[in-house]
């Protein structure tokens, strides 16, 4: 194995932490240590989020200062972000000062801005998914695509319940597809993904892949 340790400290730390946490999964005695590291991971991920927010601001600030034609959008983004942060900090301050926080303004932002946009995005997906399904056979007419299309039709047919014409067989077919062949396929896919995940993780624990090298 040809390893070039450009960042020996970082590599050593990654390997050591990885091994300790991994062992913690299998040896109960090492579980405490594993949880300490997990707590460290949670805190670090949270700090990374703040770093990320700074990154987001700097990226869009640059776009504005570049006088990019799309700089206006970036301005909207930064204003929305700063406004939310400001309101959040105000809510937190209020909570700290008066106790029993209810984050009313944060909740307002969430309920009337974030949630409607997100649910609308999900709703628009219906159109995108329908278009994708109608295009599927035009783009690839192979065994997998035809199978996919037929199963999609069968499952959707099994979902509807017409009062005038009762087709319990469609419901049974849908149920059978979900319980039998789809379960088998999903299990195989999940096991395969698990294999890939294990090797990917092990490459990092062995120091073969070092994404943290800056």
């Amino acid at each position: 194995m040809k390893l070039k340790f450009r960042a020996p400290l970082a590599t050593t730390i990654a390997i050591a932490v990885g091994l300790v946490v991994l062992v913690g999964y299998f040896i109960p005695a090492a579980q405490t240590l594993r949880f300490i590291f997990l707590r460290m991971g949670i805190v670090l991920a949270a700090v990374a989020l703040l770093v990320g927010v700074l990154n987001l601001i700097s990226v869009h600030f640059r776009k504005i200062s570049d006088k990019d034609s799309k700089g206006g959008y970036s301005l909207v983004l930064i204003l929305a972000l700063l406004a939310t942060l400001g309101i959040g900090i105000y809510d937190m301050f209020k909570a700290h000062m008066y106790g029993n926080p209810n984050f009313e303004w944060m909740n307002w932002i969430f309920t009337y801005i974030q949630r409607p946009i997100e649910t609308s995005l999900m709703a628009v997906m219906t159109v995108s998914l329908t278009c994708a399904a109608t295009h599927l056979l035009r783009r690839k007419l192979n065994f997998l695509a035809i199978g996919f299309f037929i199963i999609l039709l069968l499952v959707l047919m099994g979902t509807i319940s017409l009062s005038m014409i009762n087709f319990p067989i469609l419901e049974d077919i849908r149920s059978w597809i979900i319980h039998v062949p789809a379960l088998g396929g999903a299990r195989g896919l999940l096991l395969g993904i698990a294999l890939g995940t294990i090797t990917t993780g092990l490459r990092i624990i062995t120091g073969s892949d070092r994404p943290y090298e800056g």
Binding site: F26, I27, P28, G52, L56, S128, A132, G196
Partner: protein, 260 residues
């Protein structure tokens, strides 16, 4: 240590051993022979075209948490990015990496920095960058759409952890009619991706990205180890079923569920 824990450790050890052995075997001039996956073949062509056109390559690394099991997809995405940068280093195509996780954005920037140094890209003042596009799944999806929409982007690679929001990315990319390769470990997202993307990586094919892009013998060795273990699983399942019929079901149950 419980027997379950022991089996877990054993699996790790076997995987590790297999990877090392295959790596040693592969470290010679021999190149691994792998079944052809058209997505990777076309990816190489797309990178080549991007290099020729001086176009950008957009790499989306998903929103998987770095400290969660979802991290594997993201790490693989980073490996692929490194390799794509190496392949594209012949030209002026900068890489734009977007992520939906802040820690991943830092890692993406680190990877870009180290790879740029490695291929001496920094002297040309390349503008490769890793940026955070959004902090929640859907905000990430719509946030990175602006990178996809960019006319300078000629290839989009989606490699990481996504949920059903992947359709926003894949659709935007297809609308641009740019080359799109997508792979994730999340099953519903895979189903969407399969229906919407020109070059989907289904199942565990995403995890083969490193090997197919020649990221190193360890990646190829990993695939060999996976192949070996795949058959171990198949045989294990069949033997388990036989043992179950023979009345040893409780033993198997205890072995695998014996609580960590």
């Amino acid at each position: 240590m419980t027997i379950t824990g022991l089996i877990g450790m054993l699996i790790v050890a076997i995987f590790f051993g297999l990877m090392i052995i295959f790596n040693v075997v592969r470290s010679g001039s021999k190149k691994a022979r792998l079944r052809s996956i058209s997505a990777f073949t076309k990816l190489k062509q797309a990178i080549g075209l991007a290099v020729e056109d001086g176009a950008q390559i957009h790499l989306s690394l998903g929103r998987g948490g770095v400290t969660s099991p979802q991290s594997a997809s993201a790490f693989l995405g980073l490996s692929m990015m490194k390799q794509v940068m190496r392949i594209a280093s012949a030209g002026d195509s900068p890489i734009v990496a977007t992520t939906g996780n802040p820690a991943l954005a830092i890692l993406a920037q680190d990877t870009i920095n180290s790879t740029s140094k490695e291929v001496n890209l920094n002297r040309r003042g390349e503008s490769s960058e890793g940026k955070l596009a959004g902090l929640t799944p859907f905000s990430y999806a719509v946030g990175s759409m602006s990178s996809i929409r960019d006319d300078r982007v000629s290839a989009n690679i989606l490699a990481g952890w996504y949920g059903s929001e992947i359709i926003w990315l894949s659709e935007a990319s297809e609308r641009q009619n740019s080359f799109t390769l997508a792979g994730t470990a999340h099953l519903p997202a895979q189903a969407i991706m399969y229906a919407t993307v020109g070059e989907p990586l289904i199942g565990e094919e995403l995890f083969a990205g490193g090997a197919y892009l020649d990221a190193g013998s360890m990646h190829e060795a990993s695939l060999n180890a996976q192949d070996v273990f795949r058959w171990v699983l198949v045989i294990g399942i069949l033997i388990g079923i036989l043992l179950k019929f023979a009345g040893f079901d409780q033993i198997i149950h205890n072995l695998l569920v014996g609580i960590q």
